[in-house]
């Protein structure tokens, strides 16, 4: 089986967020770009399926400015992916989800996979649009918020659980299909040092910006325009409730919730 994993470079969780000079996006100055947390679960899932079904190959695919995309592709290779494809962002580097989905679909047309895995969303824009858009572009079924993906070896036999409102749904799909993974349910592995060193020299296929731009062009007119990127006003810290007895503390809090915060009927 050929598996493709879509991975996105996102700012490291420790990044101090700050708007850029125009106030339209995150200031990329000094940001460390890493494999998105949800995508780590997708890579882990791909590797688990590969271990269970010998002969399976896993290709990681990423879109973005070359240095960022190739950084996370090397992380994916160090974890155990077999091959990597980098989609070079055009100079204007569109970041809207549907344009990015079109770029990823281009790579998947060159490297058809029977299973496409991705995270259910990325940790930066938290959109969750790219995966289902790729599925629609390629005419694949898609299953979101999935855990426990298993393959019985046949073309009809991919089973999984999906966490939806109210519970866990057990589903089954034929291949090819796209599955978007819930984060962290599978305890993603960490890369071993020799594999990290090896991944530094591994070849990465690069699809040039001109070709990527042509694939993205059809959604230029619908791409959302950024108007602002803001940080919430700093939280000033809790208003501490003074009290002599626990009962007094409780009564004061109930009164505040009711009269001041208005969150209690």
């Amino acid at each position: 089986m050929e598996i493709a994993v879509l991975v996105k470079p996102v700012p490291d969780a420790e990044t101090r967020l700050r708007p850029d000079a125009k106030g339209l996006a995150l200031d990329p100055e000094g940001v460390k770009w890493v494999l998105a947390g949800y995508d780590e679960s997708a890579v882990e899932q791909a590797l688990l399926l590969k271990e269970a079904a010998p002969g399976t190959t896993v290709r990681a695919i990423s879109y973005g400015p070359v240095a960022r995309a190739e950084e996370v592709l090397r992380s994916a290779l160090a974890l155990g992916c077999d091959a990597a494809t980098s989609l070079e962002a055009p100079p204007e580097a569109p970041t809207d989800a549907v344009s990015v989905a079109r770029a990823l679909a281009l790579a998947l047309t060159k490297h058809p996979a029977s299973l496409v895995l991705c995270g259910k969303q990325a940790g930066d824009d938290e959109g969750g649009i790219v995966g289902p858009a790729v599925a629609e572009l390629l005419g694949l079924p898609d299953l979101g918020v999935a855990t426990n993906v298993r393959w019985d070896g046949g073309p009809g036999g991919l089973t999984m659980e999906r966490s939806v409102e109210g519970g866990l749904e057990q589903g089954r799909t034929a291949l090819p299909a796209l599955v978007a993974l819930q984060q962290a349910w599978n305890d993603p592995r960490t890369a071993k040092l020799p594999n990290i060193l090896k991944s530094r020299k591994a070849p990465i296929e690069r699809i040039p910006a001109a070709e990527v731009a042509a694939a993205m062009a059809p959604s230029a007119a619908t791409a959302p325009r950024r108007l602002g990127f803001r940080l919430p006003p700093p939280r000033t810290g809790a208003k501490m409730i003074e009290y002599k007895t626990p009962e007094e503390a409780a009564e004061k809090l109930v009164r505040i919730l009711r009269e001041e915060a208005k969150v209690f009927p």
């Binding site: 940790g123 289902p132 979101g144 409102e165 950024r226 990127f229 409730i241 503390a249 409780a250 809090l253």
Partner: protein
């Protein structure tokens, strides 16, 4: 005139709260145009009256018991065209949100998910605000017309008042593309193992306990407070990792992200892991024995003290307040 189509998602026969919120938003951006609901699946038009939509399109077929994202996208695009809608609003549920990317491609629409504010902005465009980076920042986007598809962040909007007027229901002619759309093969359903109250991701009040609660038995004090509030029960990672409560209780980066009207953190110190899962709650209350605990920096109101004295007193006070 701009019509708006809303997907009415049903859970166990009742229209999901998230869909009611979507109806309110649809009305606010329709500029007097019609707000039309789409109902899918067997079950007829049950639940459709009183929602505040002008009419309901019903896509009925036994094959649509568990519609796939691909099938729903086909139906949404067809219904929006049939109703001359220029915007589609889907509920901010797991299933709803998964439709946005598909509809954006199929219907050639501008798209945004997790929307917390929306306004019309002339020439058919919409301006939306949405949290990013786990609520640590927000972005504002302009979605160009003529077509948009939105998923709302749960609880970010109030549902409109219900109206007793009967809602006209019309069948939606099943579009040709439906047969070609990949179906979903659902083999079973396991209700969430959670507290007795409402579901974590869905609740307007959440009470969570952390390591400070001490033992699995003493966690009951958190559950009693939640019950008094009619709230969902959550937990920090320390609690679920230790096996005091199942993993489905976990709020945080590796658990569920919640944004209720009121979040009460009991005995939770406030590791960043936990904070990112609850910081976008509207009002946060922290109860902790350590007045220096980082949770007090993100909370709106704090009580420093012995939680085993404070929480039972609060449970009593809440019960008393609710019985009046």
């Amino acid at each position: 005139m701009t019509g708006v189509l809303v997907l009415l998602e049903r859970h166990a026969g009742a229209i999901a709260a998230a869909s009611c919120e979507a109806v309110g938003v649809a009305r606010s951006i329709a500029n007097g145009g019609p707000v039309v609901g789409l109902l899918v699946g067997p079950g007829g038009a049950a639940g459709a009256t009183g929602l505040g939509v002008d009419r309901v399109l019903l896509a009925e077929s036994p094959n649509l018991d568990h519609p796939s994202g691909a099938q729903l996208a086909v139906l949404l695009a067809a219904a929006a065209d049939a109703a001359s809608s220029t915007t589609i609003v889907v509920p901010g549920t797991a299933r709803g949100r998964d439709l946005v990317g598909r509809v954006a491609v199929r219907w050639n629409a501008s798209a945004a998910t997790n929307v917390t504010e929306v306004a019309t902005s002339g020439s058919g465009a919409l301006r939306v605000t949405r949290p990013v980076f786990g609520g640590r920042a927000t972005e504002e986007l302009e979605l160009p017309g003529p077509r948009q598809v939105l998923a709302l962040k749960p609880h970010a909007f109030s549902p409109p008042a219900t109206s007793p007027a009967p809602t006209p229901v019309e069948p939606l002619a099943l579009p040709e593309g439906l047969a070609k759309a990949p179906a979903l093969d659902v083999r079973g359903f396991q209700p969430t193992v959670g507290g007795k109250g409402p579901e974590l991701g869905d609740a307007s009040i959440v009470v969570s306990g952390g390591r400070g609660v001490g033992t699995p038995e003493k966690f009951q004090v958190v559950e009693d407070l939640a019950e008094a509030f009619g709230a969902a029960v959550g937990a920090s990672r320390a609690v679920t990792d230790a096996g005091w409560r199942p993993a489905s209780y976990q709020v945080g980066q590796t658990g569920k992200a919640v944004s209720p009207q009121l979040y009460i953190a009991v005995g939770i110190s406030g590791a960043i892991q936990h904070i990112v899962g609850m910081v976008s709650s509207r009002v946060i209350v922290a109860i902790n024995s350590d007045p220096q605990a980082p949770i007090f920096r993100v909370a709106d109101y704090g009580i420093a003290g012995d939680l085993f004295a404070i929480v039972p007193a609060l449970t009593q006070a809440v019960r008393a307040a609710r019985s009046h």
